[in-house]
Subunit: 197 residues, 2 copies
DNA sequence: GATCGCATGTAAATGGTTACATGATTCG
DNA sequence: CGAATCATGTAACCATTTACATGCGATC
């Protein structure tokens, strides 16, 4: 399970609250793994029990309680070990291609509606990721800027290289998804025009 | 959740036992959704409670009990409705690219080991899918042959077209994964040679 | 003072994995 | 007769989703 590890990788950058982790995972583009807020709070709870993170309570404003989470040495080690382990692949789940393989069950209009929503979704994702890749390279990206403050210059450069490359590749994957959906769109036209109309 | 729907789509072809469904999902290439045997038996149980499938008990050999599952009309309708619904996307999970973005945490040797395993895995998948695509077109593919026996000729041709196209596209996706991993392999070399050696 | 965003959680239900358990049939 | 494969399931656990619940802080 990588939800814990992606949380650890956030806390490696800087101590954060659960809310900030959730924000960085949803609104900023951290595009390799998603998690909901309640999932994060639950994970943090169990990580605290396993001594992977520590909390520090502080007050924001008058009386608003804020829990700040810090990665422990155990947590840091766990994170390093995880990178050196074999990758745990997840079960194959291709909802869009699964749908497309049953195209004979719907009409052209229904098909185009589904396909166009798909294109829009991944077009947007691709654009965001391409922008994020650029921002990492030019050091405008929020999380990378935070990291640059807590990391020696030489090491930071390496991290920046690795991240920028990975973001470029995940952007390429989103692009592929868009191109694929466009091919499927073309196919739908020929599929429904043959002897149906 | 699509696990139930992929089971229904199997039963649409022909009545089957839980074991046969599991086999068709794992050994034959049904590459859009995966499920374990126990997941399938559990799903079938709840589908029976919801009247989506019916069972018929029979004896194989001397005393071996076999449960054969058949899709009910309710189940058939549920399957058709599902295709016409919006796609339920699953959470983003990119374990390989996630790993690659933390490349600075390992050595070149470790990186190559992970990358080469990835390439092998998806190379194999791509080859299988390319072969399956061909077999669907030439009507050598087991599940399609079964279907051709229970479906009117015109309708079968349409189904064959849709499946062959979708299989071709999922093969293309596996190919993309291989090409991407090769780029990451290249990157790893340059990443670790720069001022490290 | 109302609304929106910050902040933290719990509870119930569902979905999925891993391990266990059992027994029959087929084929070499 | 032993091994592989056919066949069906349960139990415990873990992961995830959805819905609920609460209250502070900033700003208009």
């Amino acid at each position: 399970m990588s939800t814990k590890h992606i949380i650890m990788s956030m806390l490696e950058i800087a101590p954060m609250t659960g809310y900030e982790i959730a924000q960085n995972l949803s609104t900023s583009v951290v595009p390799f793994w998603s998690a909901t807020a309640s999932q994060i709070y639950n994970a943090l709870k169990s990580m605290k029990e396993n001594n992977l993170v520590e909390t520090e309570n502080s007050i924001r404003g008058e009386k608003m309680n804020v829990e700040q989470y810090t990665l422990t040495d155990t947590g840091r080690k766990e994170l390093d070990d995880w990178i050196q382990d074999d990758i745990q692949y997840i079960p194959i789940r291709e909802p869009f291609l699964l749908w497309s393989s049953y195209m004979e069950k719907c009409t052209l209009e229904q098909a185009l509606s589904v396909i166009d929503k798909h294109i829009e979704k991944f077009e947007k994702r691709a654009r965001q990721l391409e922008e994020a890749t650029y921002k990492i390279q030019t050091n405008e990206y929020k999380l990378m800027k935070m990291r640059s403050e807590s990391t020696p210059k030489e090491k930071f450069k390496k991290i920046q290289m690795a991240r920028a490359f990975a973001y470029g590749e995940i952007a390429a994957k989103a692009r592929f998804e868009v191109e694929q959906a466009k091919r499927i769109r073309q196919f739908a036209y020929s599929f429904f025009s043959e002897n149906d109309l």
